[in-house]
Structure formats: structure tokens, C-alpha cells
């Protein structure tokens, strides 16, 4: 507010001047005009619309109280707070803001603060009938205000799922509830989703997008009127500001072009740099050195017109600027870079300058991913008084109105919105057509990494992993979230293109991470706390697992990973969270990532005589967390070799069109997965649940016949996840029997490969869950019993020679007994407190 002298009473009267209905603005001159006639020194309305630029500069328009909302309860402050775009941006007001058309927007004096319309910008244009519109636009203040108030009072969005609206009654007018919230909380900011405005009144939305400079202050006015009508006793720090966000014209930074200048846009990007706070002068305070007469001069387009003569004592050049009595506002420059996801390959990311004002200052930090809503500006390079030539380039920036962090939510909850990729109707149609095909599952799996030969089941497994299961929340019953992510381990001979498969997946998914077990430490996988050298602030740096939240973390050379690093994975792979307690920061981060790992056998070649555990030497606690464990072995079979050779040779001379075709497939595949992940949430139907139960019972039965257990609840969960993922592949909202069948088949395939007991040839899940097959355990017991019997048969000999005992046992037993087995048997007996082993002698107890 630039005229601190005006009294509250005066303002109150002004409020009454505001027409109750927009209809009253029309043939009669608006009340504001009358008022102007009463008190302005320059009452004549200039013939409109001539040259607004000169009008703006005219000193007549100091009447700030016009149209302004009731200010009774507003705390007095030197600088009025209102929508950020209206103050502190001389940059935004430099004359000749370019717009490619001739349609130049009339700019307000920012010193007029938000709610004042310079009358001279209101002109009647015959083409719009009798209505008065703001010069250069088709915005009629009264109509616009009325429309917006109606929007606030009536807009209901029963389907809203934004978390901002959590706790609000969705069947009541949304924004009225928010106003109520403001009256309680006292934070005078009203965020308005432009999507809501559009669905309510498309024309109002268009005006908001095209003339934000004019429309947003009108909105401010409307809100404040409404608010103080409803809550007349509220005390707010300043007037309520309307902050629109999510302009549907959300753009990629790359697609900004000259047509967007002075329009409201929403772009997404990553903050790369923020400047120090810049105090920006709003009003200069001058004092006469001779008579101490003081005067205020408002900053106009970044310049201060220094008074040459003191009005009081007529001394020339006696006025000096008093800094600490001048009014400043906060400003900050923020550099935003295009997010890496929406960049074309082979180009460098673009950056844009954003200005934040007042309370938006310091809202974002470098590294944040944000959506910015603001007004796009272009400013010509400063004209140099000494030079008549100008650099013909404009500087562009965005005056921020609203920030929305997109990664913040990723750490706290489900972020459906950020994942939501917009699909064109056409695209959705193609995807749905594809989904309707009966062989969609096969088609997709063969489109996956076409350069890698065969391994159909592995590809199918990975495909299901890409789709993932349905997220289930049991936190209310105390079990927390069930993981929806499918984890897969590939193990096998070196050189069986495991790494290539991993690379492919990493390139396919938007939020994929690729690390190698050899090179990563626990810290690199999880998160670490680091001191920022500049700000001395402690910063939490996230590692690969956290970064791939909602994505896939590909870990190559899983077996080379150090023990401590691997232990981190335990929590991530089942609870899907990461707990950190470091340097005073204790937190739990979400890491809902699927793990796709590849491991090589310890002996460099897969030993078919050993179990999976023995081959890759991974703890079974970790292995049991993988839903599917595949072996990628060299099949050593002639027909296979032939097909492989053919496949490889064909890679080298395929025509470009064929390659093109497959590239297209990759894009389709990407969209297909993204679409399914976002929109499809299959649930089990009755038959499917029955089928699952049967499958599980069957699995347990198979084992129990031989004294082995071949399934645990974890396996059932895996089956459910896989079935859900398969339903997603079909774009089906129901998990049906066929999904369960495929899940069962795949699970069996994987088990057959990885959990077959090499000694018996049967599938034995306990290899994976306990690290030892049931037969092995049985044999161990038998040996121990035999040993015990033998010792007992020897009578009362308190001590025996180790070597002799071993030889005796070997002589007695029919099966070959290795030293390892013998030692294990001794240990088992020692555990029973039957004997102790000291050095080379065995003592009975």
C-alpha cells in the first residue's frame, strides 16, 4: 500500500462502493470512476485506449484504496503483501514487454499494490458491447470477480485425491472449507488448482491463463471480500493471496516459446541454484538535508526519480536517500533446470531463471524437483543511456506464484500424481488395443531386450517385475504395507548377458538405478549425511535404493557386494523402507524399489552338483526375499547354439527399418508399463483366491510327502504379486484364474531352476529358505546318530583320538563320509552336550 495516510474508515467506505452485482457495471460509469472524479487532481479520463505506457507514468494514480478490500483487520505494514506478481518486479513491468502479437498487456503500477485498477486502463470497447474491460484484454473486473466468487462458493470435487485436501469434506464446496482453514490457521494464502477453475468455468480459466496479471489481483479482491464477509473478525498478517497452480498448460521447459510471454504457465524442473536474498527497493525515502522535510518516491520500473528540489524549502539538490527508512521487499533468483526425464536424447538440459518474492523466498533448495506456476516474462536488455544500440536479445524469466515440490512427496507417501504421465487419447487407444490381444503377454516379453536371446521365462519374470503387484495397506491391522514390488535374482554363468538384461531394464524404466555390487558401499546404496561446504548445512544425500523408489534398482555383481552392504538390503527388500540414524538425523525413507540383481557363481562356472546357495554363497535370508530366482545357464545344446548363432548374426546386418520398428516397440512398451502401473489396480476375484489357496496347499503337499516343505507364506505372497502383475499386463482390474496359472507356472519354473536339490533332483524350497536341503539335513542327523552309536558301543572310554574316531566311523559306514561331515556330526553331538572336542582329542561328558 502506497498511501499510508488513507484512513481505515475511508477504505471501509470504498468497500461499499464496490457494486454488489456485476450487472451494475454497465452503462453507468463504475463507482471507481466517480470516486476518481472526486479526489483526483487529474480527473479527466483520457481518450482510451491510446498509449497506456504514458498513462502509467502519470503521477495521478496514487489512489490506492479503490476497490481495495476491507483492511480493518489487516495489520498495518509498509509494504502491502499480496500476490507476488504485483510488487517487487519492476522487471515485469518494463515497457514493451514483448509479445509476438501486437496485443500488449497493460501493466499496472506495482506500487498500486494488488487490488487497484488504474482507471485509465479501463476502457469501453464498443465491440464488447457496453461492458468495460481492462485495456488490452477482454477481462471485465466485475464479471471476473463475480465468477470467481461463484467458483469459490460452489466448486465441489468429490473425486479429489490430492493430499492437500485431506481432511476436507469432499461433498462441500472445497474452497470455502479452505477459507475456513485460513481463518483458523491464519496463513493468508489460498492455493487454487487451475484444473478446478477450468472444469468450473472454461472462460474464466482462459482469462486467468492469458491475462494473469489482471485476473489474479481480481481474484485476490474477490477472495478477500468473501473472506471478510464470512469471517469479519479474522486477523490476518496481510490480505489473502490467491496462488493458482497446475495451469493445465503445463509445459516442458523446452516447449516455451515467445507466445507464452506474459501468460501463466506451469513448468516442471529441478532447482540447481538459488541466490542470496535480494532486497528490492519498493519505495525510496528522501530527506532534505536543509529542512529535514521528508518525501517518499516509489520505484518505477527499477528507477527512482530523485526529487531535484525540496518542496518545502525550495533548496535544490538537498534531498538525500535514507536507506533504512526506505521500503524493501524480498526477492530471490532461482535457477531451474529441465528434469532429465523429459529431455530429448543427445541434448543438454535447458535452464530458466525464476524469481521468487516475499514468502516464496527460500521455499526451495538446490536439488529439489518442483513444479513452478508463474508468469513468463521477457525483458529487453537494458537500454544504455550512452548507447543508442540495444542488444537485440531479451532476458526471460518466470515470476513465481506457486511452487510445488514433486520429490518431497516421494519421501512421504504415494506419489501418484508425479508418476502420472499424460497419455493422449490416441495413445491410450493403441495401448488398449494392444492389451486386448490374446498374446499380449508373449508380445511384450519378446519386445523386452530383443538383442538378448531366448530366456523367455526370465524375460517374462522381468516383465512382471516391471508391472509390479498391487499395493496393499494393512497398517491398520498392524502389519504395515505389503510389498507390491517383485524382486528377481539372476544367477548363472558369466557371459550369459545378465548385465545386458540389467542395462536394458535400467534404460527402460523412468526411475531406474544401475549399480555394481563391487563398486557400491552401503552408503552409496542407502543414504548418507553430508555437510554442505557452502552453507554448513547437514544434507541428506540419497543413494541408489532411495533414488529408485517406485522404480527398479539393478544391482550387478550382487555376489561381490560386501556383507555389510548386503545387510542393508534386508530391510529394503521386505519392508520397503530404509532407516537411517546418522549424525543426529534419524529418519525412515521410503525405498519401494524392486530389486533386479545378477550374481555370478563363486567358482566362476555354475556347478550343477551344488545348490544355488552353495553356488553363489549368498545368505539364505536374503535369497528368500527374492520372488523369483532364475538360473541363466549355458544350455550346451546344439539346437540352441544354432538359434543363438542365427540371432547374433542377424543383429549385424538387419536393415534400419527393422531396427526402427523395434525402437518404436520400446517406446510403446514404456508407455504400456507406465499406463498399467498408474491406472490398473487389479484385485483378486473369488476364483483366483481359491486357485491361489489350492496352489499353495499343493505346494506344501508336494514337499510334505518326502518330509520336506516346499512352500512358505512368503511364497504365497510372491504368487499373489505375480498374479496381480500378470493381470496388469492384461489391463484387467480383476485377478483371474489365468493370472494365477501363469504365476504358478513361472514360480515353478524359477523354483525348478534354483531350488532343485542336486542330490535328489526334487524341488526343495528349504534350500532357499534355510540354506540347506531337507535331505542334506537328514543325512547330517544320520551321521551324528551313527557316530553316537559307535561311541556308545565302545564302552566307557572318556577320551578318544580324533583321527582314530574318524577312521573308525568311515570304516563302519556304508556311505562315504567326508571330513566335513564328520566334523559336523561332532559339532552336533557337542551341541547335545554329549561330548567336547579339545584339539585332537574327543572327550565324553
Amino acid at each position: 500500500m502506497s498511501s499510508p495516510t488513507s484512513t481505515p474508515g475511508g477504505r471501509k467506505r470504498n468497500r461499499n462502493d464496490i457494486p454488489a452485482t456485476p450487472g451494475s457495471i454497465g452503462s453507468t460509469s463504475p463507482p471507481s470512476q466517480r470516486r476518481r472524479g472526486q479526489d483526483s487532481s487529474n480527473a479527466d479520463l483520457p481518450a482510451m485506449p491510446t498509449s497506456p505506457a504514458t498513462d502509467i507514468a502519470s503521477p495521478t494514480v496514487h489512489d490506492t484504496s479503490l476497490f481495495s478490500s476491507p483492511r480493518r483487520s489487516v495489520l498495518p505494514s509498509e509494504v502491502d503483501m499480496s500476490s507476488p506478481l504485483m510488487y517487487g518486479t519492476p522487471s515485469s513491468r518494463v515497457e514493451g514487454t514483448p509479445r509476438s502479437g501486437a496485443n500488449e498487456t497493460v501493466l499496472f503500477r506495482e506500487e498500486c499494490t494488488s487490488t487497484v485498477f488504474d482507471l485509465q486502463t479501463v476502457a469501453s470497447e464498443p465491440s464488447v458491447g457496453q461492458k468495460l474491460v481492462i485495456w488490452g484484454t477482454d477481462v471485465n473486473v466485475g464479471t471476473c470477480k463475480e465468477k470467481f466468487q461463484r467458483f469459490l462458493q460452489r466448486f465441489i470435487d468429490p473425486t479429489s485425491n490430492e493430499d492437500e485436501n485431506a481432511g476436507l469434506d469432499l461433498n462441500e464446496p472445497l474452497y470455502m472449507q479452505k477459507l475456513e482453514e485460513i481463518s483458523v490457521v491464519g496463513e493468508p494464502v489460498l492455493n487454487v488448482n487451475c484444473g478446478h477453475v477450468q472444469s468450473f468455468d472454461a472462460d474464466l480459466y482462459r482469462q486467468l491463463i492469458c491475462y494473469p496479471q489482471e485476473v489474479i489481483p481480481t481474484f485476490d479482491m474477490a477472495v478477500n471480500e468473501l473472506f471478510f464477509e464470512r469471517f469479519p473478525d479474522s486477523i490476518l498478517e496481510h490480505q489473502i493471496q490467491v496462488r493458482p497452480y497446475n495451469a493445465l498448460k503445463t509445459r516442458n521447459m523446452r516447449s516455451l516459446n515467445p507466445e507464452d510471454i506474459d501468460q501463466m504457465i506451469t513448468i516442471s524442473g529441478m532447482v540447481i541454484r538459488t541466490s542470496q536474498l535480494i532486497p528490492e527497493m519498493q519505495e525510496a525515502f528522501f530527506q532534505c538535508q536543509v529542512c529535514a522535510f521528508s518525501t517518499r518516491v516509489e520505484v518505477d520500473r527499477g528507477r527512482i526519480a530523485e526529487p531535484a528540489v525540496c518542496r518545502h524549502c525550495n533548496t535544490t539538490h538537498s534531498l538525500a536517500l535514507i536507506h533504512n527508512r526506505s521500503a524493501f521487499s524480498d526477492k530471490q533468483m532461482i535457477k531451474v533446470q529441465e528434469s532429465p526425464d523429459d529431455m530429448p536424447a543427445g541434448q543438454t538440459p535447458h535452464t530458466t531463471v525464476v524469481y521468487a518474492h516475499n514468502d516464496l523466498v527460500d521455499k526451495v533448495q538446490p536439488g529439489d524437483r518442483i513444479n513452478i506456476t508463474g508468469i513468463y516474462r521477457a525483458v529487453p536488455m537494458r537500454e544504455n543511456p550512452r548507447q543508442s544500440n540495444v542488444k537485440s536479445v531479451y532476458k526471460t524469466h518466470i515470476d513465481a506464484i506457486h511452487f510445488r515440490k514433486t520429490d518431497e512427496k516421494r519421501l512421504h507417501g504415494l506419489d501418484e500424481e508425479a508418476d502420472q504421465k499424460l497419455f493422449t487419447e490416441e495413445r491410450v487407444k493403441t495401448l488398449k488395443e494392444l492389451a486386448a490381444k490374446p498374446d499380449v503377454y508373449e508380445r511384450l516379453s519378446s519386445a523386452l531386450a530383443p538383442s538378448i536371446y531366448e530366456h523367455e521365462d526370465i524375460k517374462k519374470g522381468i516383465l512382471l517385475q516391471l508391472f509390479g503387484g498391487t499395493r496393499k495397506d494393512f497398517s491398520q491391522t498392524g502389519r504395515g504395507n505389503f510389498r507390491a514390488e517383485v524382486n528377481i535374482l539372476l544367477c548363472g554363468d558369466p557371459g550369459t548377458s545378465k548385465s545386458q538384461l540389467l542395462q536394458y531394464v535400467f534404460n527402460l524404466v523412468p526411475r531406474g538405478q544401475y549399480t555394481s555390487g563391487k563398486g557400491s558401499s552401503a552408503v552409496g546404496l542407502t543414504a548418507y549425511v553430508m555437510k554442505d561446504p557452502e552453507t554448513k548445512q547437514l544434507v541428506l544425500q540419497t543413494g541408489a535404493l532411495v533414488l529408485s523408489d517406485n522404480g527398479i534398482c539393478c544391482i550387478d555383481e550382487f555376489d561381490k557386494m560386501s556383507e555389510s552392504t548386503r545387510s542393508v538390503l534386508h530391510e529394503v527388500m521386505e519392508q520397503q523402507t530404509l532407516s537411517i540414524a546418522k549424525a543426529g538425523i534419524i529418519c525412515q525413507l521410503n525405498a519401494r524399489t524392486s530389486v533386479l540383481a545378477a550374481a555370478n557363481p563363486v567358482e566362476s562356472q555354475w556347478n550343477p552338483k551344488k545348490t544355488t546357495i552353495e553356488n553363489i554363497q549368498l545368505p539364505h535370508t536374503l535369497l528368500s526375499r527374492f520372488d523369483l530366482i532364475f538360473l541363466m545357464l549355458d544350455p550346451q545344446d546344439e539346437a540352441y547354439d544354432r538359434r543363438l548363432a542365427h540371432h547374433l548374426v542377424s543383429l549385424y546386418y538387419q536393415s534400419e527399418e527393422q531396427i526402427e520398428e523395434e525402437l518404436l516397440d520400446m517406446a510403446v512398451l514404456k508407455d504400456y508399463i507406465a499406463y498399467a502401473r498408474t491406472y490398473i489396480n487389479p484385485r483378486l476375484n473369488e476364483e483366483a483366491s481359491q486357485a491361489l489357496i489350492e496352489a499353495y496347499v499343493d505346494m506344501r503337499k508336494i514337499g510334505s510327502g518326502r518330509g520336506m516343505v516346499s512352500a512358505y507364506p512368503r511364497q504365497l505372497e510372491s504368487l499373489i504379486r505375480l498374479a496381480e502383475a500378470h493381470a496388469k499386463v492384461r489391463f484387467s482390474d480383476k485377478v483371474e484364474t489365468i493370472d494365477v496359472e501363469e504365476a504358478k507356472r513361472l514360480h515353478r519354473e524359477a523354483l525348478k531352476q534354483s531350488a532343485t536339490d542336486p542330490r535328489t533332483g526334487f524341488v526343495d524350497i528349504s534350500i532357499l529358505t534355510t540354506g540347506m536341503s531337507a535331505t542334506a539335513r537328514k543325512r547330517k542327523e544320520e551321521v551324528a546318530q551313527a557316530l553316537k552309536k559307535m561311541i556308545q558301543s565302545k564302552g566307557k572310554t572318556p577320551a578318544m583320538k580324533y583321527q582314530q574316531l574318524f577312521d573308525d566311523l568311515r570304516g563302519q559306514s556304508e556311505a562315504a563320509i567326508t571330513k566335513d561331515m564328520f566334523e559336523e556330526a561332532l559339532r552336533a553331538l557337542a551341541d547335545e552336550d554329549y561330548l567336547t572336542v579339545t584339539g585332537k582329542t574327543v572327550r565324553l561328558l
Binding site: 514493451g96 540447481i272 535480494i278 548507447q387 530383443p450 538383442s451 536394458y504 546344439e638 542365427h646 542377424s650
Partner: protein
């Protein structure tokens, strides 16, 4: 001056004429492009135009048409400029429409409130000469021009002698110091431009506060490179250009001294109220608006993407699109062939000599001496400097088909620090996946590349390679250098030129495998696996197929023959048994 050459000497005049004729019909822009494209199509027109690469800047006429053979090192943000604007004569108040395209600075008296102003968009590319360009390629490029131009468009008479002087100097240098890039100080040019001595700044310097006296970092990818860097203003088809593209840009040279004045006019006291001041840091200012005398501006009229940098191949001859060795199938780079030559004598100039031979044959190459110090201190991977808002180049920012020789014999025992490990990882990624992950601080961005890597090492290289061949010299001359120089002198230039052309042409040939041969290869593979499944894997087949391809191409055959396949198999067998080394140099080249 003959009017027929106006389009070279005064292209802006031509544009102006079309603009005035068009009567503010926006079609004039297309017309201009059409006109210059047509002119450039004329016979030999390419060669009349002076090149920024070999003519010193101050011999070039400002606002004339020049060409520049370059690599797109960085792409700056798009900028809006006044495409069309109106000026008012202060005395007569007469309004004139003008165009701002292809210009940096407007005329006097711009009417900022004019309704006729048209805002347009353009983008600036930071371009550097093609890194690692070998001497013969450079000289041949410039001779093409010098031969045909015959001072037709020479702006200054003193220019030709100095041009020749320079080439003599360089010819001398070639004998004594063939390592062009390694000796930045030897060559003092007649022009003595300060920029000639400016080299890649050591890492970390970019963050130092700018002061007017510190030399401008021209951001060349390779240490010790020289040559003009240039800000190319691009108006059309912004999306068709990619980072690291090799281009021959035809454009209007702008060295308007006003540019430097305008950006130096920074009065610190005035900055408080001017919002544009705080937008740019001094570093950014220096990186994006360097003085025009050091980094000229070039307003692009036409650009020719270069598939190769071999001047001996005629212009336009190789216009068709070609898929060379590094075609990519999903993530698997196909046809890359990294040769590791092991058993090289340590601490000798063996690799240097080898590199000299390669230098004689290919247009672009670079030898990276993998000393511990280099590994720890060099910046291989380009990195985004957010303060200056530019991509700080690294030695792995190379043009396509550049031959990179890694000299691992120089590596000694010692500790690699963090950046050393990163550098080694980057080299490994380059070899395995033909990609470089540029460091954007908050994330990495993958840029595919197409670089032929050649590793010399004492034992087996610590870097991955597709093919390792132990060196077993058949002749061991007592003095290797002397021997090589006699071999070198024995080659006639015309002969070498034929080799050079052959190599470049062979690289661009199409290649196919007939069904019949496919069958034979399959049979062979199955047979080999039958005998000993452990000995041959899919990877081996990949390698043999690549070897077969390179072998066929080196014979000029565009399809694999049975004999070619047998030979490839044989060579691979020989390599395996290590009884005999492969032909060393050409093993890397097709």
C-alpha cells in the same frame, strides 16, 4: 567487387534486400534460407568461403559469410530476440521496420512499444574445432580452400603470405614434433592472438572468481588444443542438432565490438535496482558473452552435418546416412571393437610412435597417456558448471569416429584418488557401452558416443577390451625411432592419401551377411561348441563377427564371404594361441 560474390561479402545486404521486398510478410525468412542454400549448392561454392578454422579472425571481414568446421561442445538456453522491430528517427520521427535476425545488435532508436515488434527464438551453440584433428586433415582442409579461392574473396592482401608461412611452420613442426596437441607453446602464430595461448584451464579453476586479467577458458575438450571457439546462433531446426555433432556451419560472422562494450557496462552500483543484473554471475557472463574478439559470433545460415572429417573425400560424396561401427541395438553396442595390445615395452616411446602412425592415417585421434597423475588430475568426463552455467568439457567429449589411444604402459603403481577411480570407470564405460555419463551434479546424463579405443599395455589391460593381442615383434630394430622415421619417409604422400581415403570410405560402407553365409556361420558355431563348449561362447561369436566385418570392409567387400569368415576365424584362433600377433595398426581400423 563482383556483385556475384555479394552473398559472401555482404550477406546481410542480401538479407536486407529480401526483407524489404517481402513487405513484412514472414515468408522472407524461408526465402533467405532458400537463397543461401541454392548459392552453396553451386559448384565449388563451398570452397570459396573462407574458413574460420584456418584464417585468423582479424583477416576475416566482419559480417561476411564464413564457414566453420566444428563440434557442438555446449548448447546454451534458447533466447528470445527481436526478430522484427521498428526504429524511430529522433529528428524526423520516421518509423522504419528492421530485422534483427542474423544480428547481435539493433540499430539506433528502437521503439520498444511498437506493435510491429516480432519476438522470435534462437539458440546459441558453443562450438569448438573438432578435437584431436590431425595435422594432415587440418592442412588438407585449408588447402582445399586456398587452392580454389585464389584470393577471390580475400579481404586483406597480407593474408595469403602469412597463411603460407604458418603452414610451413607447421610442416617443420610435423617432423620434429609430430605430437601436435602436446606442444601448445611451440607454435607462435603470426597473428599472436592471445587466445592462441589459452588452453584448457586446469580443473578447479572455473570456480575461481573471475578477474579481468585471467585468461578466458575456451573450454576445449582436449588439453593443449588451440583454435577459435565460436558462438553459433542457430535459428532453424533447433531440435535436429545434438551435442557433439560435427558440423560445417555457414554463417555470418559477427565480431561487433559493441558486444563487448555492452556486456562490460556493468556498473556495480546500478545493479541494485536492475533485475537483469542479478540474473547472471560474472562467471556466467564470461562464459556466455565472451568478448567477440576472442569468441566470434556466427549467425547460422546453413549447416552441413559432417559424417566424417576427412578432407580428402570430396564434398557431398558421402552425403548418405551411414551406420558405422557403433550402431546400437537397445543397450548393446554392436560392432565396437576395442583392441588391447599387450606386451608393449614399458617406458619407451613405443605408443607414441604407434600413435604417430595412426595420426598419419585417421583425421581425428588423441593419445591419452594414462599416467597416475593424469588419471588423478585430468578431467575426462564433461561436467556441468552451474555457476557459469555451461558444460565444462572433458577429454572424452570427442567427435564420432575419433581414435582414442590409451597408453597404459605409462601407468605406474600408486594410489588412485576419487577422481582417478571415476576416470577409470568412465573409460571402462566408454569401452563397454560406448557411452559417456556426463556429470550434471544432481544427476548423470548418458551421451552415446562412437569412439574407437585402442589400449596399449604391458600386461593385460585393466580396462575391458573386446580383443586382446599380445605384441610379438618380428623385427626388433635397435633404434625404433630411427627405423620408424625411415619407414615414414619411404611413404609417398600420395600413397598415404590413398590409405586415408580408403580407410574413411571403408568405414562408411554398408555391410550385410547373406543367408548362405549365415548358415555357414551357424554351422561353424555349432561345430565349435560341439568340440568344446567351454571354448566358444556367445561373446566369442560376437567378436568373430566383428572381426569378420572389419576384415571384409578392409578388403572393400560389402558382404561377408565364406572366405572372409574363415579368415576371421583363423585370425581369432591365431590370436588365441598367441603364437602370432595380429597386424598391429590396422587391426583397429577397418
Amino acid at each position: 567487387m563482383p556483385s556475384s560474390n555479394d552473398w559472401i561479402n555482404n550477406p546481410l545486404g542480401v538479407v536486407e534486400e529480401m526483407f524489404v521486398q517481402s513487405n513484412s510478410n514472414p515468408e522472407w525468412e524461408a526465402k533467405v534460407l532458400e537463397y543461401f542454400k541454392g548459392k552453396l549448392k553451386e559448384k565449388q561454392a563451398y570452397s570459396w568461403i573462407p574458413s574460420l578454422n584456418d584464417v585468423p579472425l582479424h583477416y576475416l571481414k566482419p559480417n561476411s559469410l564464413v564457414k566453420f568446421r566444428c563440434l557442438v561442445q555446449d548448447m546454451f538456453d534458447p533466447e528470445f530476440y527481436m526478430g522484427v522491430y521498428e526504429t524511430i528517427d529522433p529528428s524526423t520521427k520516421a518509423k522504419v521496420l528492421r530485422f534483427g535476425k542474423y544480428k547481435d545488435v539493433t540499430e539506433c532508436g528502437v521503439d520498444l512499444n511498437s506493435r510491429n515488434t516480432v519476438t522470435a527464438e534462437r539458440q546459441t551453440f558453443y562450438c569448438v574445432p573438432i578435437p584431436g584433428e590431425t595435422l594432415w586433415a587440418f592442412l588438407n582442409h585449408s588447402h582445399t580452400y586456398a587452392r580454389s579461392s585464389q584470393a577471390r574473396v580475400v579481404p586483406s592482401t597480407s593474408y595469403i603470405p602469412s597463411r603460407q608461412k604458418r603452414s610451413y611452420e607447421e610442416d617443420d613442426e610435423m617432423d620434429t614434433q609430430p605430437q601436435k596437441q602436446r606442444e601448445p607453446h611451440t607454435e607462435l602464430h603470426a597473428n599472436g592472438d592471445s587466445k592462441r595461448q589459452e588452453t584448457e584451464a586446469p580443473s578447479g579453476q572455473t570456480t575461481s572468481p573471475s578477474n579481468a586479467s585471467s585468461p578466458l577458458d575456451l573450454n576445449f575438450p582436449l588439453p593443449g588444443e588451440r583454435g577459435p571457439a565460436c558462438l553459433v546462433k542457430v535459428y532453424e531446426d533447433l531440435d535436429s542438432f545434438k551435442l557433439n555433432d560435427m558440423l560445417e556451419v555457414y554463417g555470418i560472422l559477427s565480431v561487433n565490438p559493441l558486444l563487448s562494450v555492452l556486456c562490460e557496462e556493468k556498473d556495480p552500483s546500478a545493479s541494485l535496482l536492475d533485475p537483469t543484473e542479478s540474473m547472471e554471475t560474472p562467471e556466467e557472463q564470461r562464459a556466455h558473452d565472451p568478448p567477440a574478439s576472442l569468441v566470434p559470433r556466427l549467425h547460422m545460415l546453413h549447416a552441413r552435418p559432417l559424417q566424417h572429417n576427412n578432407p580428402l573425400l570430396g564434398v557431398g560424396k558421402l552425403y548418405r546416412n551411414m551406420e558405422t561401427r557403433g550402431s546400437q541395438r537397445d543397450v548393446l553396442p554392436l560392432g565396437k571393437f576395442t583392441l588391447n595390445l599387450s606386451g608393449c615395452p614399458p617406458n619407451s616411446s613405443f605408443t607414441e610412435s604407434l600413435h604417430q602412425v595412426i595420426q598419419e592415417l585417421v583425421p581425428c585421434t588423441y593419445r591419452l597417456s594414462m599416467t597416475l597423475h593424469n588419471m588423478n588430475s585430468l578431467r575426462l568426463v564433461p561436467r556441468k558448471d552451474y555457476v557459469a552455467n555451461r558444460l565444462v568439457s572433458g577429454a572424452l567429449q570427442l567427435a564420432r569416429n575419433t581414435s582414442l589411444v590409451l597408453d597404459e604402459t605409462r601407468l605406474e603403481q600408486g594410489q588412485l584418488d576419487a577422481s582417478g577411480v571415476q576416470n577409470i570407470t568412465a573409460l571402462g564405460n566408454l569401452i563397454s557401452w560406448q557411452k559417456v555419463d556426463y556429470d550434471f551434479n544432481y544427476h548423470q546424463m548418458e551421451f552415446p558416443c562412437n569412439i574407437n579405443v585402442f589400449v596399449t599395455s604391458e600386461g593385460r589391460s585393466l580396462l575391458p577390451s573386446d580383443c586382446q593381442v599380445p605384441l610379438q615383434p618380428q623385427v626388433t630394430p635397435p633404434n625404433l625411432e630411427e627405423y620408424l622415421s625411415t619407414v615414414h619417409k619411404a611413404q609417398l604422400t600420395s600413397q598415404i592419401n590413398k590409405f586415408r581415403v580408403y580407410l574413411s570410405v571403408a568405414q562408411t560402407l554398408d555391410y550385410s551377411i547373406s543367408d548362405e553365409v549365415t548358415k555357414a556361420v551357424e554351422d561353424d558355431f555349432v561345430d565349435m561348441r560341439k568340440d568344446d563348449p567351454q571354448s566358444v561362447s556367445a561373446e566369442d561369436l560376437h567378436r568373430m563377427l566383428v572381426v569378420a566385418r572389419l576384415l571384409s570392409l578392409s578388403l572393400g567387400q560389402t558382404s561377408l564371404s565364406r572366405e572372409g569368415w574363415m579368415r576371421a576365424k583363423h585370425i581369432d584362433m591365431l590370436r588365441r594361441t598367441r603364437s602370432q600377433p595380429q597386424t598391429t595398426v590396422n587391426g583397429n581400423e577397418p
